[in-house]
C-alpha cells in the first residue's frame, strides 16, 4: 500500500476556479474600501437626559448570598473563634491530673422507715399490681404446698427483689428527677415485674 500511495492519480480543478478565487479577493478588497464609507447615525436628542436620570438614581443594592456574607464576617470574629479554640485545646492538653486531695463523690442517702410506721406503698404500684399480690397471697394461704414448690419460691424471690429495685429507683427519682437513665431502668423493671407476676400466677393456677 505504501508503494501505491505515490501513484495515486492527480485531478484538475474546475477551469473557472481561479476566476472564483479572484472574485472573492476582489470582493474582499472592495468591501474593505467601502466599509469606512458606512454612514453614521445620531441617537435620540433626549438620550443624555435619560442617562443623567439613571446616574442620579442610586445603584440598586444587591442582596449578597448567604455564603458571601459568611465569608465576609469581620476579622475580630475569626480571631475570637481562633482564640477560643486555642484556649480549649491548651486546657485539654495541660489540665492537672486529679489528686487524692481533691475528689468528688456522689452519694444517695437512704433513710429507714421510722419504727411503727408502715412503709409507703410504691407510687408506681397500680391497682393491677395490688390485685396480683393479693391473688398470690391468697393462693399461698390456701395452697401452702403449692407455694412451697421451688419454682414458685424462686419466682416470689425474683418478684420481691424486683419490687425492691423498683422502690429504689422511685426514691432516686424523687432526688434526681426524671433522669433518662432512671426512667429507662424503671420501665425495664416494670416490664420484668409484669412478666414474673404473670408467670407466677400461671404457675399457681396450674
Amino acid at each position: 500500500m505504501n508503494d501505491s500511495i505515490p501513484q495515486l492519480p492527480e485531478y484538475d480543478p474546475h477551469p473557472d476556479l481561479w476566476a472564483r478565487i479572484e472574485a472573492d479577493l476582489q470582493a474582499d478588497e472592495l468591501l474593505s474600501r467601502r466599509l469606512p464609507d458606512l454612514p453614521s447615525y445620531e441617537p435620540k436628542a433626549s438620550l443624555w437626559h435619560a442617562i443623567e436620570q439613571n446616574l442620579n438614581t442610586p445603584e440598586p443594592t444587591r442582596v449578597r448570598p448567604l455564603r458571601t456574607q459568611r465569608t465576609s464576617r469581620p476579622l475580630w470574629a475569626g480571631l475570637a473563634a481562633a482564640a477560643v479554640v486555642v484556649l480549649i485545646g491548651s486546657w485539654l492538653l495541660l489540665r492537672p491530673e486529679a489528686t487524692d486531695d481533691v475528689r468528688i463523690e456522689y452519694a444517695v442517702e437512704q433513710t429507714d422507715a421510722l419504727p411503727g410506721q408502715e412503709p409507703l406503698a410504691p407510687a408506681s404500684e397500680s391497682l393491677a399490681d395490688k390485685r396480683a399480690e393479693e391473688f398470690i397471697a391468697r393462693q399461698c394461704a390456701e395452697q401452702q404446698l403449692a407455694c412451697q414448690r421451688p419454682e414458685v419460691h424462686e419466682l416470689r424471690n425474683q418478684l420481691a427483689s424486683l419490687t425492691a429495685e423498683q422502690q429504689r429507683i422511685e426514691r432516686e427519682q424523687q432526688i434526681f428527677g426524671n433522669d433518662p437513665v432512671l426512667v429507662q431502668a424503671q420501665v425495664r423493671i416494670e416490664n420484668q415485674r409484669a412478666e414474673v407476676t404473670k408467670e407466677l400466677i400461671t404457675l399457681l393456677r396450674s
Binding site: R20, L30, L31, L35, L38, P43, K44, L47, L55, E59
Partner: protein, 196 residues
Amino acid sequence: MFRLATPTDKHEQGPVRNDPVRSDPVGKDLVEQCRATDRPVAQRAAQRQLFEQYKRAMFSTAYRILNDYDHANDALQDAFVDVFRNLDQFTFRSTLGAWIKTIVVRQAIRKQHLEGRFLTIDEALHDQPAPFRDSLTGAELDAAIRTLPDGARTIFLLVEVEGYAHKEVAEMLGISEGTSKSQTSYAKKLLRQRLS
C-alpha cells in the same frame, strides 16, 4: 461586572476612517474629571462632554447590530450608564473609545437575544455569487447589511467593521470560532448576492 476584551491590533488599525474611537481625542484629564465625585457639577459636565464625543460612533455600532432605532437607543443609554459607573476600572491599557465600544457591543448583544439565531448556511449560496459593482456606495452597503439575518449581521459587523477577532466574537456571543468564521463568510456571500 464586565469582562472587557482587549482590542486587537486589527481593531487599532480598523477599517473605519475618522472614527473617534481610533483617534481617541479624549485625554486623561477628561477621564479624571468624569471620575471626580467630590465635584459633582464638574463631573456631570465632563460626562456630558465624553458622551457627546462618542455618541455618534457608538450609536452607529449599536444601531447596525440591533437594526432597530429604539432598541439601539436603549442599548446606548444602558451602555453609557455602565461606562460612567465603571470608569474607575478603566486603566488606559487600551484606548477609552475601544473600552466604551466593547461595553456598547456587549449591551447590544445582550438586547439582541441571539441564542439559536445563527442560520445554517443556505446551500444555494454554494454557487459563486457575482462580484460587487465598482460603483457600490457606503449607503448601499449599509442598506444591504441591514437585510442580513441577525446572527450573520452581528458577526459580520463585529469582525469586518469593528475589527474584533473571531476568537473575541466567539467569546462575546458564546459560540465557536468556527461559527464566527462561517457566519462571516455567509454574510459576505449574501451581500455579494444582493449587491451584484
